[in-house]
């Protein structure tokens, strides 16, 4: 019948201490991981907060079950460890206990299910009427963002106003991608041939990291984006800037760059509004390229050094890149960089 008296008490205390210490350490590590830049546990939107409340509840339940099973496994291992002359209790089962421990998981599941279903019903339906509409289009391996109501097209950086619901229509030009900004919303896939929808209301201005979450080929790891949540006034100013057409520079290196942009064939794949020759739609629209924070599908900062690295050999920087190595000369790169940096 196992250890008795002091031995049993020591075994139980030791088990409980080990379990409590483990749970404590895990809790510290969990909190630490929740305080990271791409955290899934610091919601900054209303729908995100609702989901996170369910997440928190489920985490607590999970912690209780974990601690319970760990403690029991340890206690039984120590208390019923083989002893000289020990006898095992010859039990075949116990119907009352079976009913009890069928009821325990049922109870846990019900406590999880009710708020889950509520949140799903509230957050997955149609977006509110007053929502801002954004079309997010997945490409191998970059994100395009269109604002059909505003006439703005951009890539890599998604700008949103605070406290206004946003309806994101999710599409893909090639394979399945997934739109995921952990702090604003759970992910929803971008499936070619299906228009998926997602809506949320960002409630805090700031910069949020996003990343493609569905394996989409060789450069899946490099398909990232950022979301900038602005005050309404800042957002309006950003929209005004994006609506302007790009002026083609007329003098200096930038003017030569504009010509180079045509000569090197960039116009075949990229649009620059204001440059009548540049009408391509394979790659990102570059009209306001210089106003973006990232380039190459969000994998690198948009600065001169990274832009040079990218132009000199795109597939070397982003494996599989649809933009080929154009074997540009250093002079051509100088010109293109000068031109692209005028596209504010």
């Amino acid at each position: 019948m196992g250890r008795s008296g002091a031995g049993r008490i020591i075994a139980i205390v030791v088990s409980l201490v080990i379990t409590a210490a483990t749970v404590g350490l895990l809790y510290i590590a969990f909190v630490d991981s929740a305080n990271t830049p791409q955290t899934t546990f610091q919601a900054m939107s209303e729908n995100g907060q609702k989901a996170q409340d369910v997440y928190t509840l489920i985490f607590i339940l999970a912690g209780i079950v974990f601690a319970g099973v760990m403690a029991l496994t340890l206690i039984f291992s120590l208390v019923y460890r083989e002893r000289e002359g020990g006898k095992a209790l010859q039990l075949h089962g116990n119907s009352k206990l079976e009913v009890l421990w069928t009821f325990i998981p049922v109870l846990i599941v019900v406590v999880m299910a009710v708020p889950t279903f509520q949140v799903i019903a509230e957050t997955t339906g149609a977006a509110p009427e007053e929502s801002l509409t954004v079309q997010a289009v997945g490409h191998q391996w970059w994100f395009e963002f269109d604002y059909p109501e505003l006439g703005v097209v951009t890539a890599g950086d998604l700008h949103l106003p605070v406290d206004r619901p946003v309806r994101v229509i999710l599409q893909s030009k090639d394979v399945i991608h997934s739109f995921w900004v952990p702090q604003l919303s759970g992910k929803v896939d971008m499936v070619p041939g299906h228009d998926n929808q997602l809506w949320f209301t960002p409630n805090t201005p700031g910069e949020y990291l996003g990343q493609c979450a569905e394996f989409c080929g060789i450069s899946h790891a490099n398909m990232r984006f950022r979301v900038f949540v602005h005050t309404q006034a800042d957002f309006d100013a950003w929209v005004q800037g994006q609506l302007a057409e790009a002026a083609t520079p007329t003098e200096g290196l930038a003017a030569e760059g504009a010509q180079q942009f045509t000569l090197s064939g960039c116009i075949g794949c990229h649009t620059v509004k204001g440059n009548a020759l540049a009408m391509g739609v394979v790659g990102p629209n570059l009209t306001h390229f210089a106003s973006r924070t990232r380039l190459a599908g969000g994998m690198a900062e948009n600065n001169e050094a990274e832009l040079r690295r990218w132009l000199s050999n795109p597939p070397a920087m982003k494996p599989g890149s649809i933009m080929p190595n154009l074997n540009l000369s250093p002079e051509a790169i100088d010109k293109l960089v000068a031109y692209l940096q005028t596209l504010q």
Binding site: S33, Q38, G93, I104, V109, F117, G193, H220
Partner: protein
């Protein structure tokens, strides 16, 4: 061994190899499955080690993006189809006839064919690394990334063809196992006296019989899309990529239970014997196992919560998925109930089984967590899910398999694996797997997606990725010690005796290792724990009859011929139709010869 007589050794070795190639003895086939499965477990481990080494630090430069994608894809395929399932099949093969008191499985030659087709598919899948590139679209091979447009080259054809062949192998095995368990039980062994391991085998067999045809259809469709221009899954021409996901997971989810239920069965055998008391709640464990099997077919869309299913399907599949937590919880409580009040021998097998309860529970808990679509929106395709599946498959399936190896090794070989070395293996695997996989929960929480070959610094992912990679090397040490243990043990004398653990089931009623015909006299069963019943009621084992007239099926090389035909068919599917036609001819010849083979 024939080493003493130099001139004879060559021919004797050759005839030994021939004996293994033509064997239809379930115990030898089990050994083939077990050793081959373990070798592929090592290969899958090497693949994982490369993946983890690449991810040890941000912007790692160990392997390139394409090789990374091939490696994480084949790691999954290898571990699931070439390692865990075959190691399971090895135990099934070995134990079904012995635990139910039969002389062999129902269809011994089909059993041999199952092994040889498995070997064919396994070699074919792995050879793709050297023949232009291994599958690189994930083990789930989501359309349209797998279409010719986005995946030129033969990588994905190796995927479809080898998986089709492996499916044929598993289907033959499961039919054989189900028929054997249902029809060939010893007198007195009613269904509710079957060892729990046999129940789990039966449930797994039915899961495979029902789910393999589904993936077979999907694979044929994918093969046709890629090779004959059909449009099942390509959206541009009216196909539907979501259709692939439904079909794949309708197979893929039951497959998860195919991997874990056998280990649940092993734990249910080891714990009572080592605790020296009957299994707590036999019926509850059996029915819970069957319930998990049935429910396993009703939850597939929880792999698709993020595909835009809509509100109602999300709620329905969330409810059915959470419901699986109930029978799983019942099992965990009953295992703990089995330990309660015991006089538990902590052998290596016990350590692995007790660890199974704890580690599998962690995987079970995280599974119930992402049954909630609200949580799954964050978990799906993040490292949290990687942690979850590895707690189920490593903490569950693999720990169970190691428990089974240490428990049944004396029966299979007549020798005990060294216990001291075994405990080293246990602790290294236990610590190593927790170091590797627990931090993945933190990585998932910090927003790290799965299947990325690189990541930037500054995202808070550095520490835990490094810890996870260190954990893999700890596991490697543990597995290496086990391999040394195995070879050293095989050189020891056979001293185990018939029933060294004082176990209750029929396999311990015969000698260790058992004779080719298993039992001199087929035992009669009076109780769920037959040997304990006999012990407590003073029933002596039946006397060995003076003359043994036992009919055993003769060896046959026809299974090997048919498997070679299947191999040619597969090679034809990857190269030229003429080779496939030749393959069909060989298969037909093999089956013809099989049918006309004398049975005496």
């Amino acid at each position: 061994m024939a080493t003493a007589v130099g001139t004879l050794s060559h021919t004797e070795d050759r005839s030994r190899i021939w004996e293994w190639m033509t064997t239809v003895d379930h115990k030898k086939i089990a050994a083939l499955y077990g050793v081959t499965g373990f070798i592929f477990f090592l290969i899958g481990g090497i693949e994982a080690t490369l993946v983890r080494t690449q991810l040890a630090v941000p912007n790692g430069n160990v392997i390139d993006a394409d090789l990374f994608n091939q490696l994480f894809t084949t790691h999954a395929l290898t571990m699931i189809f070439l390692a865990i399932m075959p190691m399971g099949a090895s135990f099934f093969n070995y134990l079904i006839p012995l635990q139910i008191g039969a002389r062999d499985v129902a269809f011994p030659r089909l059993n041999a064919l199952g092994y040889w087709t498995y070997l064919t598919g396994a070699v074919m899948l792995t050879s793709s690394f050297f023949l232009g590139g291994a599958p690189n679209g994930g083990w789930f091979a989501y359309a349209p990334l797998t279409s010719l447009e986005y995946a030129a080259g033969k990588n994905l054809d190796f995927y479809t063809v080898s998986l089709l062949i492996l499916g044929v192998s598993s289907l033959m095995g499961s039919l054989n196992f189900a028929v054997t368990i249902i029809n060939m039980r010893a007198p007195g062994m009613t269904m509710m006296r079957l060892p729990v391991y046999m129940w789990m085998t039966l449930v797994v067999s039915f899961l495979l019989i029902l789910s393999l045809p589904i993936i077979t259809v999907a694979l044929v469709q994918l093969y046709f899309d890629r090779n004959f221009g059909t449009n099942f899954f390509t959206p541009d021409t009216g196909g539907d990529p979501i259709l692939w996901q439904h079909i794949f997971w309708l197979f893929g989810h039951p497959e998860v239970y195919v991997l874990i239920l056998p280990s649940m069965g092993i734990v249910s055998e080891v714990l009572p014997v080592m605790s020296r008391k009957p299994l707590f709640g036999y019926s509850a464990i059996v029915f819970a196992g069957a319930a998990i099997g049935v429910l396993g077919f009703a939850v597939w869309s929880h792999h698709m919560f993020t595909t835009g299913l809509g509100t109602v399907p999300q709620i329905v599949f969330s409810a059915s998925t959470m419901a699986i937590g109930i029978p799983t919880g019942i099992k965990i409580f009953n295992w703990l109930g089995t330990m309660y009040g015991g006089n538990i021998r902590f052998t290596t097998a016990t350590y692995f089984s007790v660890a199974f309860i704890f580690l599998f529970t962690i995987g079970g808990i995280s599974g119930v967590m992402h049954a909630s679509p609200a949580v799954d929106g964050q978990h799906q395709d993040s490292y949290f899910v990687v942690a979850h599946i590895h707690y189920v498959l490593f903490g569950g399936a693999i720990m169970g398999i190691f428990s089974g190896i240490f428990y049944w090794f004396p029966k299979m070989t007549g020798r005990f694996l060294d216990e001291t070395s075994g405990k080293w293996t246990f602790w290294l695997l236990f610590v190593g797997m927790n170091l590797t996989f627990f931090p993945m929960h933190f990585l998932g929480l910090a927003g790290m997606p799965r299947r990325i070959y690189t990541y930037d610094e500054g995202l808070g992912w550095e520490t835990w990725n490094l810890v996870a990679t260190v954990g893999v090397y700890v596991i490697i040490v543990g597995v290496s010690i086990f391999i040394v243990n195995f070879f050293r043990t095989m050189r020891q004398p056979q001293t185990a005796g018939d029933n060294p653990w004082d176990a209750a089931t029929l396999e311990w009623a015969t000698s260790s290792p058992p004779p080719e015909h298993n039992f001199d006299v087929v035992p009669e069963v009076h109780d769920r724990d037959p040997l304990w019943y006999n012990r407590d009621h003073g029933i002596a084992p039946a006397a060995k009859p003076e003359h043994l007239h036992i009919h055993l099926p003769p060896p046959s090389y026809m299974p090997l011929v048919v498997a070679m035909g299947v191999a040619l068919l597969g090679i034809g599917g990857l190269s030229h139709v003429a080779v496939a036609v030749l393959g069909v001819a060989v298969v037909v010849y093999g089956i013809w010869g099989w049918a006309l083979e004398p049975t005496e």
